[in-house]
Each structure stands twice: as structure tokens, then as C-alpha cells.
Symmetry: C2
Subunit: 297 residues, 2 copies
């Protein structure tokens, strides 16, 4: 029953942790992220999408526990674990894809934290079988992605091609590095995820966890255009949204002093059906790292 | 990774289930309960207490997973498991007691569902060691309870007395049957918990899970005065609150048609610092049973 949660509170992520402790940090990261409000454009405690609600996200976060724990015990099998997480998520709720991007970040982070290896080592070691499983996960999660010209996601022959040509999952991510924030994390050592963890930790010393998450979300969105928006609406729109976030968060004030502008930003994005989903995924990754390192509410 | 969540969807609770599946149902029950809003007088997604917030409840629900899973594998040790859950809850958040009453219901329910035995059999079989552990849990959770004249909770000699005189935990609960809803559940076969599960299930067919929980909460509160309120403010106040709930829920309408009156009720209870905490615990027990039986959002 004991966890080693107290151990290595301030250490780096790449240390040996109890798999159950890590899985709970991942669950809590997903639950705190979706609860944080007002989080412009995304589902939060006070805002559902028509088909995907706050409770769908909560159920997915909790239902995927065994896969998260399995990841924290695993040395390989990133693709199969992402696939398993996507499947288990859909068993626990009827709202469709809730956490696909989050799983793509969390699974290698859990593997790294559980084994004491660097996350960049984990993702670099992925194989063509991981890539094939990743594509199988896509097809059940019904995720919106930009087509990679080399590999057509709609074409079932793609998996055969991947396996025949031995294209690893890391290589596939490299193809998407410029138009997918999550792929970019894989290729660049999860640098935004770790930066996000630092921001949350720093802000949580000065404000409530809710406000720390919302302010970090706005700051991350201001710094990097969201590729989920880019995929749906084009590069111009994603830049416009980031500029808007930047205007609001400039000066690094607390949430109360900017709340009416955040609400107005939220209403605008919801009206336009613009949701910064990739930024939310990075927040989940960052929260996971911060929780593993000992952040508590 | 596979769970047998699909198995026995409509069967009775007393069937053999996967411990991880059961632990996740318990986590989700706690998370959905605290999220449901507006839930008059209690913490919910839109209302914190000064020292205990929505996020404290979320963290406690998620952090206690290993104890919940352990309970689903256990044939004995109710008291030690309640103690372990209370301890683990406090490791994950700084808001104090969030789920003590819920654990007192969930632990035997998890043991019953995991072993295929009846929950009344589980609680009837508890020993003096369970009672001693229960009292140890009390002292760390800092729970407000009505003193039982026979056993002084403030007196550290009470544990010695329990062990010497071999007073079982079930016997202790019998002493509290009239002034504690949770003890009453133990003694009377968890009848309100099972009724609550049926109500939630029935309502969830007709409305959102949030509204089903809120309406069930009001109905349960209307039917039975809350003993947490009784302990703090006396029997008269608890009856008055139930009569108010009864007036609002009369006619069994949907939540939208009564929402302004529910909000007004909520504001009144919060102003008076009256929180129907025992009813919230019963809701968690009922949600757990409904989720185990296959309820999904």
C-alpha cells in the first residue's frame, strides 16, 4: 500500500518510481487539466462540446489506469501501449477521442519515469511495430491529423508499407515535426513538456492549482501556435489565436486581473469551434512531470 | 490490460470482478460525485470550502487507487483498509478529510464485489482489530462525529478497551445506527446505497449524468435527514434541510425546471455552513454500485 511518492520529490524525472504512483500522477494530470477553467476553447468543468463532455474526459482518465501502470513497468512497446490506452479510454465513455495526444506524450514519459531512462531514449528506440500499432490506434480513436504525404493514414496498406520498409515510429514523428506539437515533443526531447512542468510548479506557489494551469495554458499557447487548430483551420488561424493569448497573458499577471478577457477569448473560440487541443496535451504532460516531482494541491 | 468490465453488466453486485476494474469504478464514483453541480451545500466543481477544494477531492479519489484495489482482493481487514485509505488520501492533498465516510462504505463494497460475497456478510464479520484500526483512522482523518457514550473517541484508552472487551466494528456501528447514516448502512445491508444506485441508473437514462446525480442527491436528502448536519447543528436543522430538499424535488421534474431553486437552496446552505456530507457519501456508494453494474457516461 505504501508508495514511494515522497522519494525523489525534487529529483529529475528519470528516476525509478513505483508504477502505481506514476499511473496515478498520469490520471491526476488528465483530471486536473480538464477541470481547469476557464480554459479558452477546450472542454473544462464549465464547458462541454456537443458530443464530448467533461465527464467523458474524467472517465477516460480514470478508466485507463491499468495501461498507464503497465507503461510504467515497460521497457518497450510504446505503440501497443498507446493503442491499448486508446481502446481502454473508449470502453469507459461514449464521447469518442478524449486523450489520444495525451497518451502519445504520457506513455513514453511513464516508461522513462518507471525505468530510470531518458524519455528521448525511449522514443528514439521505437520500431516499425510501434508505428504499425500507432496507426491501428489512430483508426479506432478517429483522430484528426494532417496527412503525412509519405504515409496515407486513410490507406490500410500503409501499415504493410511501414512494416515492409521498417519505418520506426520515431521516424514517422520526424515527418510531422513541423505541423504537430506532439510529434515535435518526441523529436525534441519533450522540451515544451518540461518547460510546462516548470511553469506550473512556479505558478502553483503563487496561485491556486486551477489558476496556475489556466495561466500556463495561456502562456504556452502564446509561445507556440497550436497545431490542432492549424490542422483544422490553417496556419494563419493558429497564429492569430496565439497572438490573442499573448495579448491577454502579457505582463504575467494573476488570473483574476485578466479573467474577463479570458472569458471573452473562451467565448470567441467556442463560437468559432476553435479548440487548442495540442496545447492541452502539453499541459497534461507538464502536469504529469510536475506531479511526479511532488507537486500537490 | 483487458478488464472484465463487460462481464455481468446487469448482474447483482455480489459477483467476481477484476480488482482493477472495481478500484477504477470507486475512483470514478468519487470523481463524478464531487463534480456534480449544483449540489447544495457541498463542494462541487463550482464551489470550494475555504480549506477544502474541488481539487483536493479529485486528488484524494485518484491517490487512493492502490488501497481500493487491495480492498477488492481482500477477504478481511476492513478497518486496516479504511485506515490505509484515509492515510493515502492525506498523502495526495492538503485539504484534510475529504472521503472518510465514503471509504467506510466503499471498502466493504469493494471487498464484496471482489470476492462474490454479500456486503452484509463482510461487515458482520468485522473484528475488534477492525474497530481499533477504524479508531486509528478517525484520529488521522480528523472527522467530526457524534460521541458514542460507550466509547469516547477522544480517549486514547478506548482502543485498549475495544481490544480487551473484543468489541467488533459491526457492534460499534450498531451503537451509531440512529445518528449516523453510514453506520446505518452497515447495519441495514447498505439498503440506501443500493436504492441510490437504482435511482441514478434510472435517471441517467433520461438526463445527463450530472443532472442524474444532482436529482438523486436531492431525492435522497429529501427522504432521510443528513446525519452529518445533525451532528453539527442538531436533529431539527437536519429535518428542516430535508423538508427544503423535498419541496424542491417534489414532482420528480428534470433539473432544468428546478435549477434556480436548487441554486437558491445551495446559497442558503453555504451561507449557513450546512453541508449534507453523509448524503454525499451515500451518493458515492450508489455511483460505485451503478458503475460496477455497467453505467457509463
Amino acid at each position: 500500500m505504501e508508495t514511494n511518492s515522497a522519494k525523489n520529490r525534487t529529483g529529475s524525472l528519470e528516476l525509478d518510481f513505483d508504477p502505481s504512483y506514476l499511473a496515478r500522477c498520469a490520471q491526476l494530470a488528465m483530471v486536473l487539466e480538464v477541470s481547469a477553467s476557464p480554459k479558452p476553447g477546450n472542454v473544462d468543468r464549465d464547458h462541454d462540446y456537443p458530443d464530448t463532455t467533461f465527464e467523458h474526459f474524467l472517465s477516460s482518465a480514470i478508466g485507463t489506469y491499468p495501461v498507464l501502470e503497465e507503461a510504467a513497468r515497460s521497457q518497450s512497446g510504446v505503440g501497443a501501449l498507446i493503442h491499448a490506452a486508446a481502446k481502454e479510454s473508449l470502453r469507459w465513455q461514449h464521447g469518442g477521442n478524449t486523450h489520444f495526444g495525451a497518451f502519445v506524450l504520457l506513455i513514453p514519459l511513464l516508461m522513462a519515469a518507471g525505468s530510470g531512462r531518458r524519455v528521448s531514449e525511449i522514443v528514439f528506440g521505437t520500431t516499425a511495430e510501434d508505428a504499425a500499432e500507432f496507426y491501428r490506434a489512430f483508426s479506432i480513436a478517429n483522430v484528426r491529423v494532417d496527412a503525412v504525404p509519405e504515409i496515407d493514414l486513410e490507406d490500410s496498406g500503409s501499415i504493410d508499407k511501414i512494416l515492409e520498409e521498417e519505418i520506426g515510429l520515431f521516424d514517422l514523428m520526424k515527418l510531422s515535426v513541423d505541423h504537430d506539437l506532439i510529434a515535435n515533443e518526441w523529436v525534441n526531447g519533450f522540451k515544451r513538456t518540461f518547460r510546462c512542468a516548470d511553469l506550473i510548479r512556479e505558478k502553483a506557489d503563487k496561485m491556486s492549482i486551477n489558476d496556475a494551469i489556466v495561466c500556463t495554458f495561456l502562456q504556452m499557447l502564446a509561445e507556440t501556435p497550436d497545431t490542432f487548430i492549424q490542422t483544422k483551420f490553417g496556419r494563419g488561424k493558429s497564429i492569430e489565436v496565439s497572438e490573442h493569448a499573448s495579448m491577454i497573458i502579457a505582463g504575467n499577471r494573476d488570473l483574476n486581473s485578466i479573467k474577463s478577457r479570458v472569458h471573452e477569448f473562451d467565448r470567441k473560440l467556442i463560437r468559432e469551434k476553435v479548440n487548442p487541443g495540442s496545447t492541452a496535451d502539453i499541459i497534461i504532460g507538464g502536469l504529469f512531470v510536475a506531479l511526479v516531482r511532488g507537486l500537490r494541491v
